[in-house]
């Protein structure tokens, strides 16, 4: 068993199988990061996870200039899936969109879903960039799972095909201060954060008609979308999630 004090300080997501004695070849970027930037050498430990096999302590077995090989020594955590919770949000300025993805991963959303609303300003999101942020957040927060970032889709179409069994908590700044609470029903859930400028009348009317939808207030002040995402995830996790 690897003594606790010797355990890895660096966590890395790898898209490869992990298991006792399994060797893992690093990509060029990973080798550069671990062996160049973090200056790890043969015998040093790294914590690996792949979203499936839990977390493994792996030892550096080969350290070259542009390549490296790790070997899994011991499983240090089992896979911990987040609750079946999606976070839908309308992309905003780049930095804040990145923050929302990071926060969703830290707070334990299972799927991150950018949606284009009537009042969404920014229409372009790069799924690969956002997915990389989710990976980095999972590495940082000690998670063993990386939420999937979906391609952006139009909110009206997403709601038109909304799964019958998935509850939807939506946070509307029009509700500021009104006391709607979260119903304590189990099952698949999603949180929808309103765009800056709020929902359109059509969107709000459609949400109000949906049986699966529940309006929840996030207090008397108007929150920015990234603040609202963390606050809404906290409300949900406390009531129905894994906190």
């Amino acid at each position: 068993m690897v003594p606790f004090m010797k355990r890895a300080k660096v966590r890395l997501f790898v898209d490869q199988p992990l298991g006792q004695g399994q060797s893992v070849a690093l990509s060029r970027e990973q080798a550069h990061y671990l062996l160049g930037v973090m200056r790890l050498g043969v015998g040093d430990l790294v914590a690996l996870f792949n979203g499936v096999d839990g977390e493994w302590q792996a030892e550096v077995a080969e350290a070259g200039k542009k390549r490296g090989i790790l070997v899994c020594v011991e499983r240090s955590a089992s896979l911990r899936m987040p609750p079946d919770l999606w976070l839908l949000f309308a992309p905003i300025k780049k930095v804040r969109t990145d923050f929302i993805v990071e926060k969703a991963a830290e707070m334990g959303a299972a799927r991150i879903f950018p949606v284009q609303t009537a009042f969404t300003n920014s229409e372009r999101t790069r799924r690969d960039r956002l997915q990389a942020h989710a990976v980095e957040a999972a590495e940082q927060c000690g998670g063993t799972y990386v939420p999937e970032v979906a391609d952006i889709a139009r909110l009206d179409r997403v709601l038109a095909e909304w799964p019958a069994d998935r509850h939807l908590m939506f946070c509307d700044e029009g509700l500021a201060g009104e006391g709607a609470g979260l119903p304590h029903v189990k099952g698949p859930w999603a949180i929808l954060i309103g765009p800056e400028g709020g929902f359109s009348d059509d969107e709000r009317a459609r949400l109000v008609r949906m049986e699966q939808a529940h309006a929840v207030s996030l207090g008397p002040r108007i929150l920015r979308a990234d603040t609202a995402a963390v606050a809404a995830l906290t409300v949900w996790q406390q009531a129905l999630g894994d906190w």
Copy 2:
């Protein structure tokens, strides 16, 4: 009465008295922003607040190149004080420190208090810069109050002189997943967010000894300090605050 549709789209904090017919001279920066950047002219409305007199709709009465005068027309909101809640946190990287201040203002903290812990990396904070962020957040979120940003102080000294009647909720990543909850006691409160790298053994021992202190868990994942600040403020506001 000012018709709702005509109401101001711009909100501005001013450090001057507000009241019926009161004229307010803009600073050079404010004149540049309102008259230059936002292109307001004589007769246009601006929402003003000063942290004391509520929110006032004010009309541009004079618009020069580097100066402008507004006249208060009607009070559009009364002063709404946040709960008596302080947020203590250890400054981190600049952008994230700015975010914590912004989020604290949006979430309704009354006082923002940077503290230097044993494991705080960054020792330099500029109070005036952070205070400006709190003002901007208050302008954005529709608040009529601006939380005060205190000068940074050493955590051990702050705790040594801690007010007997102020409860302290501290969030410790060492608690991840353990179920300590927030006691529902009213009165003055503060939230202390642990630094990246956690509290030192001395700090934790001192906190545990304090009668006013209550450890609260923020779930099984390790949250970055800015995420933890919003999550902790949400937990507190839901249980004891103005949500």
